[in-house]
Amino acid sequence: MGTADGQVVGVQKVVDNGPNADRYNIVILGDGYRADELTKFAADVDTFISTFHATAPYDKLWPGINIHRIDVASTDSGADDPGTCGDNSTGSGVKARTYFDSTFCGDGRIRRLLTCNTSLAKSTALAHVPEVHMRMVIVNTDEYGGSGGAVATFSTHASAVEIGLHEMGHTAFGFADEYEYYRGCGSGETGHDNYAGAEPVEPNVTANADPTTIKWRSVLTNPADGLPTTQNANCSDCDTQGNPQPDDYVGAYEGARYFHCGCYRPSFNCRMRALGNPFCGVCQHVIAESLQPFLPPPGA
């Protein structure tokens, strides 16, 4: 497995909005595509690009983004699927000879943690696109799975693209997780009741719910409503109340950054809280601010 099991066969700039030196460069590599499946890889990348382009706020920032596709032919198709995993799940036991060694159960504990050789993915992307900002690896398997870190890795399952978008939120924009636990609501975990620490540096969570000084005061939907928008009545577990406001309302909802109380998120839901949701208004604002330098001048 590894570089002996494939080779880079080509690089295509599939979204070209200008010189790499001036634009935000995303590089997408493939793993588990044989040479005769690279047409499929191109199609899978196009599918991702369509989803990405339609995801707010990237739709409005599109002129500032380049996307590069690196075609890598692996000896075998797919990914490793260990027969056993620490979560007691079972797999086919297949060992696929692929360039980036993609595997489910990547940490030995979680079946859906689909990982690859991120060091090789990073260096391969850098070798072909020195101006790379964000790397992604699409793995040629329709089993649901993915992972984050410096390289967002996800399968071709229709919902796995959400993993890539969430992880890009972390890697590219420094977003915190907006869910209020580690192991889950009702898991009985301890140590997550009350956040009483310093103000989080991440732009999408806060310990300060004062509407005049909250870090996202410029995008509050209606400051006159007052903050917080919701408070958790039982800090020993997740807040179970519904959203008293519309889905896109920006206020301050208690429960975020792994704590049930004392830390707030901007909207009831967001892709950084649960996959399958749009980015909240604050995340969209921060993405737009971050990518502003890459946009062409007006009229260009």
Binding site: Y144, D177, G197, K215
Partner: protein, 151 residues
């Protein structure tokens, strides 16, 4: 942040337990994401900053979990809640992108100075909430020279 810069420093860090060091610096003709304002004088989490010779802040951006203390589990199927588990490894590397600004004098990486404490413990919660300290500090002259020498 001034728009009149042409290059960005790609700084690679390696961490091994408590040890954190720069292993490579590249100076690339590219732009970096825009600066984001600090959350205050005391912040929890990881962030990088660039200051001029007078100590004025020129650039600031948050970084999420660069040392990969945890892994995210996305559930058994689409739509399942996301969870976090402690990462068994304590070695790895990460990159940061820092604009090579004309007046840049110092670069610092900030983050929790308390020792890694796994997950689900009082120590882990304290680490999440603690104000960040300086984890790495370098002059821009040093970084540029290193990039000029091939990393």
């Amino acid at each position: 942040m001034p728009s009149s810069y042409t290059h960005t420093l790609r700084i690679t860090f390696a961490h091994d337990g408590p040890k954190l060091e720069i292993t490579n610096v590249q100076r690339v003709a590219m732009r970096a994401p825009a600066a984001l304002p600090p959350a205050g004088d005391n912040q929890a989490g990881y962030w990088l900053e660039v200051r001029d010779s007078k100590g004025a802040l020129l650039y600031h951006r948050p970084i999420h979990d660069p040392l990969r203390q945890h892994v995210e589990s996305f559930g058994e199927a689409a739509g399942a809640p996301t969870q976090r588990l402690a990462d068994a490894g304590d070695r790895g590397e990460f990159e940061v992108l820092v604009p090579d600004l004309p007046d840049a004098q110092t670069f610092r990486l900030h983050g929790p100075t308390l020792a890694p404490a796994g997950i689900g413990t009082a120590a882990a919660a304290a680490r999440l909430a603690s104000p960040g300290g300086t984890l790495s500090a370098h002059s821009f002259d040093e970084l540029r020279a290193r990039a000029g020498q091939g990393g």
